[in-house]
């Protein structure tokens, strides 16, 4: 991020006069230093969901180019904490909402951050796009495949910039694998390993599947606490009696809201694989699961999940406690294997990488993308493709069988029950 560069100033043609009258609060200092950036130069953001992740540094980041002006939460404790954190970090009191639709409609907000449980992501992202906002959305992108399609459509039609909150395809060490993704991409691009490839995502390679995100099947109904608007927390999800384990972090253990460790870590682990294999524009055609029977409400554990692409590439996920024995390759092709720590069976791998063009990774600064109206490196389209890998795994687990998927129609073939999991009913009046 180049903080010294004054950003492109967003103007709208006839609306300029109107825009400057609207109350954008003036702040003397940003981030504790004396660099004064006038409000009209700044972008603004609002965060829906100021819980554990919502209040983390991903959303409460330090960047003077975009000011936090609004927060929203259905839990008044979380909302209070979100307001207080904004005061503490940035020195201003944000606008606070309890109904996310008000935040999305707020003309003061340029970018909407969605840090709610996944069952809300689809509705909120589409609504934000239709309201002319840009979007920063937590993973998994959506809870169902159908919602993902709707978000892609809404973002496209409104030409909004969308950022999915996962980033390993372009930066950071790739978990316990001991390398960044870039050399992996180069190695695959070079063709040295051959084709097709099998990728193994396992604790043996440094990827933990967080099986502690499982649900309980014996939840006793409890009274809803004063601070929580449970009806709004549930939103489109089916109404089930309140129990603390359903909300606030442990919601990850219930199919109604999320998909356990698979959905939690899935996009982080799978999106770079999709990138490495060059499959941002397609989907696996088959998903197989080996797991105990899953409860209809509470997410359980699984032993393995295998995705197969049309060209024979495979992605194998190994559950915690079911990792393959011994040294296991992360990437395996007919001509070579790659292990943790970039250990490769091909002797002259460094030379091969020198001769291979670098992959193009541009637009990794979302604020720049918003200002320049450029698609972020991990936009809604790419995010939809990798979240579909996760979600087809969820469907296969819930049905306990192998599913076949048609990348063209984006539906399951020969399994109507699976297709009924693509678009799931929403409670009450909630709809796209």
């Amino acid at each position: 991020m180049d903080k010294s560069r004054r950003s492109f100033i967003k103007k709208s043609a006839a609306g300029v006069a109107v825009a400057t009258i609207l109350p954008r609060k003036v702040f003397g200092k940003m981030g504790g230093d004396n660099n004064f950036i006038a409000p009209s130069d700044q972008l603004t953001r609002g965060i829906i969901g100021t819980g554990g992740i919502g209040r983390s540094s991903t959303h409460y980041y330090d960047d003077p180019r975009c000011r936090l002006v609004a927060v929203c939460d259905v839990d008044s404790d979380h909302l209070r904490k979100g307001i207080d954190l904004c005061k503490e970090k940035y020195g201003n009191t944000p606008q606070s909402y309890t109904d996310w639709r008000d935040l999305v409609a707020d003309p003061n907000v340029d970018i909407v951050h969605i840090a709610t449980p996944p069952h809300w992501h689809g509705l909120m992202a589409a609504a934000a796009a239709n309201a002319g906002k840009d979007i920063w959305c937590e993973k998994p992108m959506t809870r169902t495949i159908g919602e993902g399609k709707k978000v892609v459509e809404a973002v496209k039609r409104n030409a909004r910039m969308f950022r999915l909150n996962t980033w390993f395809r372009f930066t950071d060490t790739f978990y316990g694998l001991g390398t960044t993704v870039l050399p992996l991409k180069k190695l695959v691009d070079s063709g040295a390993l051959g084709w097709p490839l099998t990728v193994r995502i396992s604790g043996a390679n440094g990827f933990a599947w967080k099986f502690f995100w499982t649900g309980k099947t014996n939840l006793k109904p409890e009274p809803v606490p004063e601070c929580l608007d449970y009806d709004m927390w549930l939103g489109p999800a089916p109404y089930k009696p309140y129990n603390p384990h359903r909300v606030h972090q442990t919601f990850r253990g219930y199919w109604d809201y999320d998909g356990g460790g698979l959905a939690d870590m899935g996009q982080h682990y799978l999106d770079p694989v999709q990138y490495i294999l060059g499959k941002d524009d397609t989907f696996p055609v088959k998903v197989e699961v080996d797991a105990p029977q899953q409860h209809p409400d509470a997410v359980g554990t699984w032993r393995s999940i295998t995705y197969t692409y049309e060209d024979g590439c495979k992605i194998i996920l190994e559950g915690e406690g079911f990792e393959s024995e011994g040294k296991v390759p992360y990437l395996e092709g007919p001509n070579g294997k790659l292990y943790k720590g970039f250990e490769c069976t091909i002797p002259n791998v460094a030379e091969i990488l020198n001769d291979t063009p670098d992959p193009v990774i541009r637009n990794t600064d979302f604020i720049e993308c918003v200002l320049q109206r450029k698609h972020f490196a991990l936009d809604e389209n790419i995010g939809f493709h990798s979240s579909t890998i996760v979600n087809m795994g969820v469907c296969a687990l819930r049905l306990g069988r192998t599913l076949n998927f048609d990348p063209k129609t984006q539906r399951f073939t020969g399994d109507e029950a699976a297709n009924l999991l693509i678009d799931q009913p929403m409670r009450g009046d909630w709809k796209f």
Partner: protein
């Protein structure tokens, strides 16, 4: 743990009443099929799944009626076992190869939904039923485009001050007119909003193709610099080599225009682009960007600069040093993992001082199974307990390595879910059904579970199965430990649970000395279950745990060998 009880009872009833009940190959009624299946929930693998649910599906709609009838209001109790079974039945029935059972299962659901009286259970049944009905699923149809409606909306939205609405307008127009909207798209290139320009170009690439670039090139000079950059980007992204001239002309332009041109040249990857980029390496302002562009260049690079480019590529292959700093997410997860771990504690297995004096032997110390043999896969040490995941069957039992004659056997057990079914085999050989071929089986059963509401008196927890009924106790709530003692001396057997004596009898007297039918038949009038118990007077044998499904764990297992006194 017995599956045959209903067989005997009902077979007798049937003979008496002259009616025949629906029974499967093992002569089980639907009630028993359901009860047996529930004791196996959740099923652990594919093979077991098919076996368990085939029986349930084949006995639909009655099985559905029984299962759904067992659902209690959410506030009263836990419906987990039934929920597993109902959802599993839906999974089974919706497999294409099981289409035959689908209509019977659906019939069961329709009745259940009609009769449901608890709103949450109704919601659960409805959501499961939905998966059974493909003919009711919404058709996947392409929304027909209403051309006039689109054009009206376009005319209205294209004038909007909001750029996202002007973008929507372009899409509506494109859907209505297809490639005919080209003039409007060209006009949109002059839109002040980058979003609209970008959208116009996306629509052009979808509906029109390469020729649009040529048209855009003719009005290139009338565009703003930002719009020019968008057009060059479009040319690069879509590989429109015919317009490379436009790209190369702008390589040295200032600001965003020049930067975009350099990127576009890299994407086009033609020989002219390679040469042009190479020449920029001498330009002090642009050499960095040019080098980056060449590093990504998917085409042949002039020999003269190939080594420079390779050097740059080597930089990008840098393995990280040391560990990543712990991310925010990881801290949150670590807290959750800690909280999850705290819920599990390791149990203590120890003799009391009195037991030590008396000469009791601890059979399980919390970690080692070395005093046991048999099914060491279905019975495993977990957190200081022996955790049971064994299925029904004579090969699935756990036995003491040693054999005993007279003894005091003490242990603690904990039911973790409803309907648990296990048993203690006494003076039994290995690999046989201890209830008949051992001296006896002392029943371990969660008899309070609703699925056992029709239990016979000699099947309750603690009974000497089929021979001496136990006094029926009330079990502690699920998840709590209970203690039991089984004392066997000669023919005398005493069972004590949580301090209360529930069996105190003489097994020989209970059947008047006839452990098998005097006439050599299969029906023994002297035993309560009317079966033969050939092993009843065994001199000695192993002590065993006779498993049937997950949900129970044991600890503090100790024995006093009375023979050694």
């Amino acid at each position: 743990m017995k599956k045959h009880y209903i067989y005997i009872v009902l077979a007798v009833l049937c003979l008496a009443a002259g009616i025949s009940n629906a029974q499967d190959a093992r002569h089980r009624t639907v009630t028993t099929i359901v009860a047996d299946a529930l004791a196996q929930m959740p099923v652990q693998n594919e093979a077991d799944f098919t076996a368990e649910f085939k029986d349930l599906a084949d006995s639909a709609p009655e099985s559905v009626a029984i299962l759904t009838g067992m659902l209690r209001p959410a506030k009263d109790t836990c419906n987990a076992l039934m929920e597993y079974a109902i959802a599993g039945l839906v999974r089974y029935a919706t497999r294409p190869e099981n289409a035959k059972c689908l209509s019977a299962v659906k019939e069961g659901f329709v009745k259940a939904i009609t009769n449901a009286n608890d709103i949450y259970n109704l919601q659960f049944l409805t959501s499961q039923y939905r998966l059974l009905c493909p003919e009711n699923s919404p058709a996947v149809s392409e929304k027909a485009v209403n051309v006039q409606e689109n054009l009206t909306k376009y005319a209205q939205l294209i004038k909007s001050p909001k750029d996202n609405e002007r973008c929507q307008a372009l899409w509506l127009l494109a859907e209505a007119e297809g490639a005919k909207c080209e003039p409007e798209l060209l006009k949109a290139l002059s839109d002040p909003s980058g979003a609209c320009r970008a959208n116009a170009l996306i629509i052009a690439s979808q509906y029109i193709g390469e020729s649009f670039a040529a048209k855009a090139a003719t009005k290139f000079n009338k565009l703003t610099n930002d719009a020019k950059a968008d057009v060059l980007n479009y040319i690069g992204e879509n590989g429109i080599a015919s317009q490379q001239g436009l790209v190369l002309k702008n390589l040295k332009a200032k600001g965003k225009l020049g930067a975009t041109a350099i990127e576009a040249a890299s994407k086009l990857a033609t020989p002219s682009c390679a040469t042009a980029l190479a020449s920029l390496l001498k330009n002090k302002d642009l050499k960095d960007k040019a080098l980056e562009a060449l590093a990504c260049f998917h085409g042949t690079i002039p020999e003269s600069i190939a080594s420079v480019v390779k050097g740059r590529r080597a930089e990008s292959f840098k393995l990280p040093e040391g560990d990543n700093e712990e991310k925010e997410y990881d801290k949150i997860y670590a807290k959750a993992a800690e909280a999850a771990k705290k819920e599990v504690k390791t149990e203590v297995n120890a003799l009391t001082d009195e037991e030590k004096e008396q000469g009791f032997e601890l059979l399980f110390d919390g970690t080692s199974m070395d005093k046991w043999t048999g099914n060491l896969i279905g019975y495993t040490p977990v957190d200081g307990t022996i955790y049971v995941s064994a299925k029904y069957g004579n090969e699935s039992n756990l036995y003491t390595k040693k054999e005993y004659r007279d003894f005091i056997f003490r242990f603690e057990f904990c039911f973790m879910k409803e309907g648990v079914n296990n048993g203690v085999g006494v003076r039994t050989p290995m690999g046989v059904d201890a209830a008949y071929d051992g001296m006896c089986e002392v029943q371990i059963l969660d008899h309070d579970a609703p699925i056992y509401k029709d239990l016979r008196e000699y099947q309750v927890h603690g009974s000497v199965y089929g021979v001496i009924p136990a006094k029926r106790i009330v079990h502690k709530p699920l998840g709590q430990w209970e203690c039991e003692e089984i004392r066997v001396q000669g023919d005398h057997i005493t069972v004590t649970v949580n301090g209360e004596v529930i069996v105190d009898g003489n097994i020989r007297e209970a059947c008047q000395g006839h452990n098998v039918a005097p006439d050599g038949s299969d029906e023994n009038p002297y035993t309560v279950d009317h079966r033969n118990h050939p092993g009843m007077f065994n001199e000695r044998g192993h002590i065993g745990f006779l498993g049937h499904g997950e949900g129970v764990k044991f600890k503090n297992i100790r024995v006093l060998d009375l023979e050694k006194k």
